[in-house]
Amino acid sequence: MNREMPSKNRKGLRLFDVVIAGLSGAIGVEIFVLLNYAYFNLAGPAVLYALVFGGIINLLIMLSYSELSTAMPLEGGEYTYIKKAYGGYVGFIFGCFRWLAAIFAASLAAVAFVLQLAFLSSAISSEMQTAVLNQSWIISIVIVAFMGLMEVRGSKKIGTFIVLAFILLFVGFIVGGFIHGLNDVNLLSAPLPLGTSGVFAAIVYVFPMFIGTKALVTTASGSENPKKDIPRALIISAIVIIPLYLLLAFVAIGTVNPSETLQQIPILNIAANNIFGGYGGVIFAIAGMVACLSTLGTALSVQSSIARGMSRDGYFPKLLQSVHPRFGTFYVTAILGSVLVMVLSVLGAIPFLGYAASFGSLLVFALVNLSLMKLRKTQPYMERPFKTPLYPLLPVLGVILSLSMLVAPVLFGDGNALDALTSGLGLVAIVLGSYYLRMTGRFRVQIALGGVGIGTGISLLCLNLISLTGLAQPIIPFIPIYVQLFFSVILIVSGFFNFITHNYKSQDNESGHLGVAKSG
């Protein structure tokens, strides 16, 4: 949902507004899509345990957020805390992961939108539903392009009243479910798709449903009384969201027969269909689409804001701060983010995107807890209106739980998580590598890459020439040899120019100096 609160010029935000900001961060696309994977593939009805664990872990982490946000009620949230504790290097890493998490969350929202649209079309005809599912990648691209355009044009966000409408809708669903009557949900004897370990693996997938509550930290600078209201609001919203989601899942599980249900169809929609008839399913599909659009818009906005912040700090190119001459918006970051989201949303892999979005957030949570401990040590006299109870037990627990949640699904045999974790570690390598390359200096890197280019180009050229003679198989058989030959020539020439770039610069500088000397 929308993470931004309406600005109040004279009065600051009150406790209610800040709590709503937290809930609006938590109520989003995740409940509509990730519950399915956790229920059908990992934990079965025991997903309820996973929800409780996920909610409690979120609550523990929010206590650390409370301390830091009241000690530093400045704009920037986690970025400010981490940078203050560990300096620019870790701040850069944080920024990259937060940016990537926003990109993955936006992609997840785009894919989920198509699922909701497919469910809505099923109310019209099954052929239309099939057509929507078959053309899902086109719809994803169109919807991301539309939202990216809205971001470039600087459109207004959906207001807080939508959050209240969602809460009412969910409460109506729960009450309706109990009136309608539920099947017996026996958690102790229910079959578990992956055994007990599946429950632990499911936690990482249900966890993104809760983490949005931290969004209210961004309202700290606008709050009337941040020192009191921010910790209260963080704890209230983190507590309120647990029974809300638990009851939603309980009613959904109690009204749906898993053997008659397709896993691609959101379980909440089917449950609403069973409880309220066809209209219930349609209303939930529309609500799901609104949630998807809202999450997509917010995530695009967040990624743009992070990219600009890092550009301001000199980590990303200054080009990212370009302002559109007509709309006055940051169009370069909006377009760049939208293109990345389009590429990822074409994959249509909901579990992968869900885990990847969670991956960035969990690393950030670990860093926030570490920052809290570092600041307690290095700045013991800093004013802290709220102190995390049971220090250092809770922050240490926060770090351990965040990191263990990252690897739990892999250890418990969730193959999808292994893919996502491998990709995540690859991204970590790219982030760290790019930082070190930046610190090494541009020309050295350019010369090194030039050498790599020449070497790879010559090797590729030789291998392809040998394969042309029939003595060996081509290295990548599905790419035509003439394309590989063309690429190898490009690599050699580009590598050569990169390799000698420093000579140009030196000559250029020397001639420049001589010019000045002569003219002088």
């Binding site: 994959l347 992968f352 690859g426 790879t456 990548i476 140009y504």
Partner: protein
């Protein structure tokens, strides 16, 4: 002469970036079997990881290298 070299840098840098982007896109499509890519390209399951890793690693490295050349042109 220098202007010609700078233009050549732009041309080769841009082509390299484009080709590298295509390589990364191909790796992603191949990994997730989007549009039945694995069947369409007739790749064995065992070799997919190798191709994906190869295309991704070299794709990223050569995007950076290509962007350096484009940046040289931009600076000039």
């Amino acid at each position: 002469m220098l202007i010609k070299k700078i233009t050549i840098k732009l041309v080769f840098g841009s082509i390299q970036v484009l080709l590298s982007l295509v390589a990364i896109l191909l790796a992603i499509l191949l990994r997730f079997n989007a549009f039945d890519m694995q069947v369409a390209l007739n790749t064995s399951v065992a070799a997919i990881n190798f191709y994906v890793m190869f295309l991704l690693v070299f794709g990223f490295v050569f995007i950076v290298a290509g962007l350096f050349l484009v940046y040289d042109w931009w600076e000039s």
